[in-house]
């Protein structure tokens, strides 16, 4: 080794900080995603094209129920934990940029259409809190006070709506509220009406027009048309499941991902082991599909041709795939116990699937249904790709 070469090595050694990302690793963030390791309170950063686990970062607190949204530039993920933690993860530096504990018990969040506000839905104390997406400084605290005695409701189904607005549902009060941040100063809060008993989650369609809350306590769903000059809550599918004995529900369904598929909504029944097909214009039921158990997620492939369904305990080892034009189950397989969450590649050619009890994420081709890869992740739950940054309501 020449002296010159030795000196060069020494310089590189001392100048490059340990673990730093060097120029050879320059990368875009549009291909990245995060996977929640629910038992460890850590989050793994993945590169989706190459099915690669880049790094797992700890220190997120209680992630037993967790979700994520992304900054507009897809550099940061905002992780919402069960313990009220809101953590901003830098996907490039692979470290926590900022973390706050903003409540005692939380269920999820949303980011505004302009990317400047992050809102969190809280169970305790019930309400939503809104933060600056850069600094995580508090912008607004909106307690969900209802009734005459000042009680606070748990909030669920918090989504972003176009025009710097957030829509959310009060579980205990059975009401839908909207917080409008389009003007400077305090947000304008409007109450959009009663939902019915125990609204447990809600969704907004990808066009930002329809907000739909699922009800646990009674039949039917609550719907708000946000294109209406005066948005208000209406009941839809009131006769759904009438007179039928409800089956026990061992895990609440999630409404996110119940996308519009081929001109109809495909919704999981609650206490009924079936999916409902609902006409997207008239909101009348057009059909149903009997499935393996209580559906938890019924997620549409981005092209809307297929819906993939997973199930509540004790049938959570199975996935079924429904063909939308025919409403027939075209594929069923058992990835293993506790298949908890699915995320499609942005254009739907692959789906990533968390299998909690085998500590792995499995990746499938959505046309051939062949398994393409397996990545080891400890107790995986939610999978979120950065492409969500550019989709409404995710």
């Amino acid at each position: 080794m020449t002296l010159l070469r030795f000196v060069a090595i020494l310089i590189v050694w001392f100048v490059t900080p340990i673990g730093a990302v060097n120029a050879a690793e320059l990368r875009g963030t549009g291909d990245l995603g995060v996977i929640i390791e629910r038992a460890d309170g850590s989050v793994c950063i993945i590169a989706t094209t190459r099915h690669e686990k880049l790094s797992c970062v700890g220190g997120f607190g209680d992630l037993s129920h967790a979700s994520a949204v992304f900054s507009r530039d897809e550099r940061y993920a905002y992780i919402f934990g069960r313990d009220g933690g809101l953590t901003k993860l830098d996907l490039l530096e692979r470290k926590i940029a900022k973390r706050i504990l903003q409540a005692g018990n939380s269920i999820g969040g949303a980011i505004s259409d302009d990317g400047t506000l992050v809102a969190v839905s809280n169970y305790k104390p019930g309400g939503i809190k809104v933060f600056d997406s850069e600094s995580l400084d508090l912008v607004a605290d909106i307690p969900a006070i209802y009734g005459s005695d000042g009680a606070r409701s748990k909030t669920v189904g918090l989504v972003d709506a176009p025009g710097r607005r957030f829509v959310f549902t009060l579980y205990d009060a059975g009401e839908i509220w909207m917080a409008d941040f389009s003007k400077s100063g305090n947000p304008v809060i409007s109450k959009l009406g009663k939902t019915g008993s125990q609204p447990y989650d809600a969704l907004i369609t990808g066009d930002g027009r329809h907000y739909i809350a699922g009800l646990f306590g009674e039949d039917g769903l609550a719907h708000v048309d946000l294109w209406n000059a005066k948005p208000h809550t209406e009941r839809i599918l009131e006769n759904y499941g009438k007179g039928e004995q409800k089956l026990p529900v061992y895990k609440m369904p999630h409404l996110e991902g119940w996308a519009l598929a081929g001109g109809q909504f495909i919704l999981p029944g609650v206490g009924h082991h079936e999916l409902l097909a609902v006409d997207a214009k008239t909101f009348k039921q057009t059909g149903s599909v009997k499935v393996h158990g209580q559906p938890v997620f019924a997620v549409s492939r981005p092209d809307g041709r297929q819906v993939w369904v997973n199930f509540a305990h004790p049938l959570n080892d199975t996935i079924q795939v429904v063909d939308i034009p025919t409403l027939k189950i075209i594929h069923e397989f058992k990835p293993g116990p506790a298949a908890l969450h699915m995320e499609f590649a942005p254009r739907g050619h692959e789906v990533w699937l968390s299998v909690r009890d085998s500590n792995e994420v499995q990746i499938y081709d959505t046309r051939t249904f062949e398994k393409r890869a397996t990545i080891s992740i400890r107790k995986p739950s939610g999978i979120f790709f950065s492409a969500r940054a550019h989709r409404l309501g995710l």
Partner: protein
Amino acid sequence: MKLHLPFWLSCALALAVSCAALAARAEGVADARQNELNYLVRQDCGSCHGMTLKGGLGKPLIPATFDGVEPEAIAEVILDGISGTPMPPWRGLLSEADALWIAENLKAGTIK
């Protein structure tokens, strides 16, 4: 190879085994099943009550919640659910001994 034990040692061993069996019956639930139940409480009850059992859509399952409530009453809620709420009946998935074991351990705060 055959193992020849003295008569007294065989008796002592047999006694020890039967004592262990009795202890297990008193506990009602075998060790392997206890592991499964711990896991079920954290992961599946945890869907609504939080994996740390500090609450979610459902109430916290911490000892303070069960102050003054008999384990039998808790076991009944586990087995039959609470009508009009999302708490489902677990009968069919859990035996009465399972439910009682969960109830006692929730009350004592000893779910692992």
